[in-house]
């Protein structure tokens, strides 16, 4: 292995600066995906649990597609193929966010559905006999308990998301992965990959700590 960066502080500094730019884009993808896919996932979960077949059937199909095909393929499809049927061209960054949001919403939906369905029916019944409406029952009784039960599987999903952001490089969005790849190509040294690995470790280290913190917050009851 040729050492080109690690023995040259100036080059190293430049590499880190470039990769930090990538981290910025990666974080942007990460946060935007989370912000949109969590509420969308909740809506999808509710639709999936609807008793009307014309709601739950299409939604089941959507979840099936999202979970059964590679995210990379979904991303390529939305970026290259969708513009052939719809009259506008998608900005590559928007295409990435859009694909991730609809993909992750499907996963979150299944987690939320599991959480909601795991709440004993007695909870709903107790709320019902107290005269609470369905909406009150859902937001005040079911959801807080389901959120707690969904937390652990959600943590896994969020950690996966950090890694999945790397797929953005397939449509040349300059995230951490793309940036590292570029530097490897131009320098023909793999050191940028090593630095990228460390960055991903740091990012997911932070994610894990935040999730642990939320978990502790929710541990006020058993």
């Amino acid at each position: 292995m040729v050492i080109k960066f690690f023995n040259n502080p100036e080059k190293m500094e430049n590499l880190i600066r470039l990769l930090m730019q990538g981290v910025g884009v990666t974080s942007k993808i990460f946060f935007l995906t989370l912000i949109f896919s969590v509420p969308l996932g909740l809506a999808v979960a509710l639709g999936r649990m609807s008793r009307r077949w014309y709601v739950n059937k299409p939604i089941s199909f959507y979840i099936y597609i999202m979970r059964s095909t590679p995210l990379m393929l979904q991303l390529l499809f939305i970026y290259f193929l969708l513009p052939m049927v719809v009259p506008f061209k998608m900005d590559r960054f928007v295409a990435v966010i859009f694909s991730y949001v609809i993909n992750y919403a499907a996963y979150f939906a299944e987690i939320f559905r599991g959480g909601i369905e795991s709440i004993p029916s007695g909870q709903r019944e107790a709320a019902h006999v107290l005269g609470m409406s369905r909406l009150q029952t859902f937001w005040r009784i079911i959801m807080p308990q389901a959120a707690k039960r969904s937390l652990l599987p959600c943590t896994n999903e969020v950690i996966t998301l950090v890694k999945d952001t790397a797929l953005a490089s397939t449509v040349a969005v300059v995230d951490l992965m793309t940036m590292a790849k570029k530097q490897v190509t131009s320098s023909s040294s793999v050191e940028p990959y090593l630095v990228a690995i460390i960055f991903y470790l740091i990012l997911n280290g932070i994610v894990e700590q935040v999730c642990k913190w939320v978990e502790r917050k929710m541990n006020y009851y058993q």
Binding site: E125, A126, L130, G131, M132, Q136, Y220, Q222
Partner: protein, 247 residues
Amino acid sequence: MLRAADIKKNFGDLKVLDGISLEISRGEVVALIGPSGSGKSTFLRCMNHLETVDSGEIWLEKDCMCRMTDGRVRYSSEAELRRINMRMGMVFQNFNLFPHMTVMQNLIEAPMRVKRESRAAAMERAKEMLASVGLADRGGQYPYQLSGGQAQRVAIARALCMQPEIMCFDEPTSALDPELTHEVLAVMRDLAEKNMTMVVVTHEMGFARDVADRVVFMSDGVIVEQGTPEQVFSSSNPRTMKFLQMD
């Protein structure tokens, strides 16, 4: 005050309620007894609109939960049903307290959200109710910190906070260790003495004998016989006798 007329209910092919008619007057304590699977819980759940009946009528005084029109059962509007539910309290076998809320929050949730009472007013009544079930100092605890007997007493207090006119109990002591049943039964006795209208599904024959004004014996989805505790417990009806001996 509560009137159920010719209630029928099937689960698939299983006839669970086969024409139950029961009228309960204000201040009356009715004990519902019968073998396992006879439909006692189902009947109580129909009264609280946790199940829908296949046919029959349910009235709470002038408020109609469901009635027969053109030979088919018709339920009232959602709003009307909630109004009726608010006038009735229900206590379950396994408490069904909200685990993510403290005892106090469990008690004030419905009064605040459903009856739109102020927090202060709701809390004041909640404290009163907690005291009346002997748990005045437990408001800040979570359900998992309570014993079964305490949890059930909280559940009773929670129902009472809505100031129901009639209280239904579905085997309130069946999930409890024997040494804890008496504290729940004591609370129920207390309620009966305060003239609360009560329908109690129970296997506690002592309670039925001492507290109930009327004992209703159900079997296979029908009321076999009913009367004062003395009448039913000294019945010569073979089905009643068989059940009482088993117990």
